[in-house]
């Protein structure tokens, strides 16, 4: 009963374009002249061996690191530097390789925190917690409850996240990112350290987010099976350079990619 994939039709124009971006920390070149784009509605994977510059790439995209050269176009607006705060306001949300949750707060409060940027009443209104401030909170709570329902975490709504198993914490973090209603969602190794069942769950959530909310997703992942199943297109980085950019099937057969993953010494031609 399943319809043939209509992904090609749904994929729109570029939401974000990275052009000739280079980034260096002192003498270490993290990224060298990297260009690629992320199209509206797609799931884009960024893969590569350890230290290839994947996380640096995400940090450049959401403005955490300003690139040394090159520029980034997001929603048609070109820029060279942007503050993370501005990126968040502009519709970029992310999760982190090593969780960055408020461990002493409940699941609900963590996800509510993701709504902070969308709350307009000031500190004093919230202190009074009456009238408009209360109405606003109720409205945001409704959105958060939808996310809780979506991610099937109702049972841990009022549990401190520090007490949750790792797989669930990852889910809460995804929930907090979703609470921002992002146009572009950056996931840094969403499945690191998970067992098979947790990976399957998380894969399903990522696909559902993409399908149901139409959110564009860029993800870094080590599990090749996951990458091949989830993503529409894959960028491969190695030592800060882009070595491939194609569909999962093409990437799988790419000579350069295989060489990078097999760990053949660099500088010696095959």
């Amino acid at each position: 009963m399943r319809a043939p994939s209509s992904r090609e039709v749904r994929l729109g124009e570029a939401l974000l374009a990275v052009e000739n971006v280079s980034l260096a920390f002192g003498g270490v070149r993290a990224l060298t002249d990297v260009s690629f784009d992320i199209r509206k509605g797609e799931i884009r994977a960024i893969i590569g061996p350890n230290g290839a510059g994947k996380t640096s790439m995400l940090n450049v995209i959401n403005g955490f690191y300003p690139p040394n050269t090159g520029r980034i176009t997001f929603k048609g607006e070109a820029r060279t530097t942007m503050r993370p705060y501005a990126a968040a306001l502009g519709g970029i949300a992310r999760t982190f390789q090593n969780l960055a949750l408020f461990r002493g707060m409940t699941t609900l409060d963590n996800i509510m925190a993701g709504r902070a940027l969308k709350m307009h009443r000031g500190f004093f209104w919230q202190l009074i917690r009456h009238g408009p401030a209360l109405r606003e909170e109720v409205e945001h709570r409704r959105r958060v409850e939808e996310i809780i329902d979506f991610l099937e975490i109702a049972a841990i709504r009022k549990v401190q996240v520090g007490r949750l198993p790792y797989g669930l914490q990852k889910r809460v973090e995804l929930g907090r990112a979703l609470a921002m209603e992002p146009d572009l969602l950056l996931l840094d190794e969403p499945m690191a350290g998970m067992n098979l069942e947790e990976k399957e769950d998380m894969s399903r959530f990522i696909l559902d987010v993409n399908q149901q909310y139409g959110t564009t997703i860029a993800l870094i992942e080590h599990d090749m099976g996951v990458v091949m199943d989830l993503s529409d297109r894959v960028v491969v980085l190695d030592y800060g350079r882009k070595i491939a950019d194609a569909t999962p099937d093409e990437v799988k057969c790419d000579k350069n990619v295989i060489r990078a993953y097999l760990g053949e010494p660099h500088g010696i031609s095959a």
């Binding site: 319809a3 409850e145 329902d149």
Partner: protein, 658 residues
């Protein structure tokens, strides 16, 4: 047989009646997005009617069978009633059934339409759809993930309701037509087919009429004085007769409110928020709750633990007497009152049991210790004995006449007798019509004069006049020396220990009794943590020598208690082992209602059984396991076997004394 008012002899008629009489009162609630959503009886009538007319538009006709697959959601209960209003017959299916089991039931029942909960169930139906040529439309409740599916056969629940509402709004005669369809239903009509999970063989479809269900529900309501103020929580499988009568028929008859939990994982929290007054649960639920309590208390601080132990001792001494309104010294009453304030009240509140008036345990025998514990802390827990074939009720304990080891007296309008082989037989207005498309099986179970064989062995206790069930009639066996063995009796004694999750006692046709035990991962895991026992998997923990020591100690205590019971003394456990994997319904080792399938298990673990009787101290085993997505793998293990010393029977001493 007492008659029922022909104007109120089906559930759809009762719904219309309730909407008229108590239309403003809550009928059903569902916690959604963290908030309890309530539908009154008149709102529920509107929802059911819209869906019903929508089903009519989709072509569901009188006599058609339609499947209900999913969890306890208002819409699935509505779907049952909506179909019944048209004269169609609902066939609820266990939501956790794997595709294979589902295919059998749906094909056997010849369902033409299915109402399912979500994508998971839709996927299962798609996987088996080539074996179900008669199945037409599939209605789903939860749209999530189904956006890209081909909607030629799929349709959303609200779209069906929209069809119905459009028709109702556009055609004035439609409402009259629908009400005429409801009025055309009669008490003697087939109301539902419930497939029993069955400990052996294929599931059988038990056919019940409206009259069966309504008379049973009415008598049960009268037995416990249940009225429209009750609050119950619906959390047991829809395909189980208990949930059907309790969360659906009894609610329609009494007019009480049914609460659907947010998710299966939040039942305890949800129950606590609602404060249910009437509860119905298999022993497992009370067992798990007690295990959880004991585990948590073991982790608590010394002061709290001492407080708990002291007041639980007080409760064990006086609690039941107070609950039974017996004479209790004033001092004990006062102490119990303090205990209630400090321990029992908070404990019951923690599990949402504060407002309970009547709580039933049924489905299987409950460990007497577990039963007494809950009564001691003031929970009016009672036993009930029932069967799908009886529309649940056969016997139940009246208030004040409680005994941990009996299942009570025949409920109103039920007759019970014991056959010569010890089998329990009953006759009542709730007796089923027959098994669907299986007259031979029906004839095996029901005698021409209306008595139904329960398959359970039991007797009437001479002291209390209550029925006592010892085991399945066919499972009661004898050892080679003629000693009586009721395996379940032994197993239940073992399962009282929180560390033991499941036990399988074998010995019929052998020289002595052996046991295979499943550890409880929660309890033993917590014990391991406190005792620095390191393990990396269930299998490793189960095989740990110190875990064996602990289990051996439990078995020793069971042996001693068996030795004290005279007739059961010969059933003491001589050898045992701890199984390397949890018994699982997906592997066919448990039924869907979590009862062990002893015959199947002894076959599947034949090498272990041989080793138990062969005198070996270890045995190798490789078992196939089925994962939740249906693919198979194998688990191999070497399992240790321990010998136990039996106690001398105390009955012998008594003989000497006599």
């Amino acid at each position: 047989m007492s008659s029922i008012n022909p104007a109120l002899d089906t559930m759809p008629k009762l719904l219309i009646h309730n909407a008229g009489v108590i239309g403003g009162r809550p009928a059903i609630r569902h916690k959604d997005f963290g908030i309890w959503q309530t539908w009154t009886w008149s709102e529920m009538l509107e929802e059911v009617r819209a869906f019903s007319v929508g089903l009519d538009e989709l072509g569901l006709k009188r006599g058609d069978k339609f499947a209900i697959i999913g969890g306890n959601r208002p819409r699935l209960y509505w779907a049952i009633c909506a179909g019944q209003a048209l004269g169609a017959v609902p066939v609820p299916v266990y939501a956790d059934a794997v595709a294979e089991e589902m295919a059998y039931v749906l094909a056997h029942a010849e369902v033409t339409l299915a109402v399912v909960e979500d994508q998971e169930q839709v996927d299962k139906i798609i996987a088996i759809s080539d074996r179900l040529p008669q199945l037409g439309r599939v209605v789903y409740d939860e749209p999530r993930g189904l956006k890209d599916y081909d909607h030629a056969r799929l349709i959303a629940f609200e779209d069906v309701q929209r069809l119905g509402r459009k028709k109702l709004a556009g055609d004035a005669g439609c409402l009259r037509q629908w009400e005429a369809a409801v009025a055309a239903g009669k008490g003697g009509d087939l109301s539902i087919i419930l497939y029993t999970s069955g400990t052996t063989g294929r599931p059988k479809g038990v056919m019940l009429t409206y009259e069966n269900a309504i008379v049973s529900a009415r008598n049960a309501n009268a037995f416990d004085n249940l009225g429209r103020d009750e609050e119950v929580i619906a959390y047991l499988p829809l395909a189980w007769i208990g949930d059907h009568i309790f969360s659906y028929v009894q609610s329609y008859v009494a007019g009480y409110c049914v609460n659907c939990p947010e998710t299966p994982d939040t039942v305890v929290e949800d129950r606590r928020e609602i404060g249910t007054t009437y509860a119905f649960a298999p022993p497992r639920v009370y067992e798990n709750t007690l295990t959880l309590t004991m585990v948590r208390m073991a982790d608590a601080g010394a002061f709290k633990r001492k407080l708990f132990d002291f007041f639980i001792a007080v409760a064990r001494r006086w609690g039941e007497k107070i609950l039974n309104r017996e004479k209790v010294p004033l001092g004990a009453r006062a102490l119990y009152g303090i205990g209630n304030l400090l321990v029992y009240g908070p404990l019951k509140n923690r599990f949402g049991l504060s407002r309970i008036r009547v709580a039933y345990t049924a489905g299987e025998a409950i460990g007497p210790e577990i039963f007494r514990f809950w009564r001691a802390v003031g929970l009016n827990l009672k036993q009930l004995y029932g069967q799908t074939e009886a529309s649940v009720y056969v016997t139940a304990q009246p208030d004040g006449e409680i005994d941990a080891e009996t299942v009570g007296k025949p409920t109103p309008e039920v007759e019970v007798k014991i056959a010569e082989n010890g089998e329990v037989l009953f006759r009542s207005p709730g007796v089923f019509v027959g098994y669907y498309k299986d007259p031979d099986k029906t004839a095996e179970v029901r005698t021409p004069d209306g008595w139904v064989r329960t398959g359970d062995a039991g007797f009437f206790d001479s002291k209390t006049g209550h029925l006592k069930i010892i085991d399945r009639a066919k499972d009661v066996g004898r050892l080679n020396d003629g000693t009586l063995l009721a395996p379940k009796y032994v197993e239940n004694k073992l399962k009282f220990y929180p560390n033991i999750r499941e036990a399988v006692a074998i010995g019929a046709g052998r020289d002595f009794v052996c046991a295979m035990v499943n550890i409880d991962l929660t309890a033993v895991g917590s014990w391991a943590e406190r005792n620095n026992v390191v393990y990396s998997s269930y299998q490793e923990l189960a095989g740990h020598p110190r875990v064996y020591d602990m289990i051996a100690q439990h078995i020793d205590e069971v042996n001693r208690s068996l030795a004290e019971e005279g007739v059961m003394a010969g059933a003491q456990i001589r050898r045992f082992l701890v199984l390397h994997k949890e018994l699982d319904a997906d592997d066919g080792e448990l039924t869907r209602t979590q009862k062990i399938r002893r015959g199947f298990i002894t076959e599947r673990y034949a090498p272990l059984v041989e080793a138990l009787y062969g005198g070996a101290t270890t045995a190798d085993i490789s078992t196939e396991v089925t994962f939740e997505d249906g693919h198979k793998g194998a688990i191999a293990a070497r399992v240790a076997i321990r010998d136990m010393k039996p106690y001398a029977a105390r009955a012998a001493k008594m003989e000497r004394a006599a």
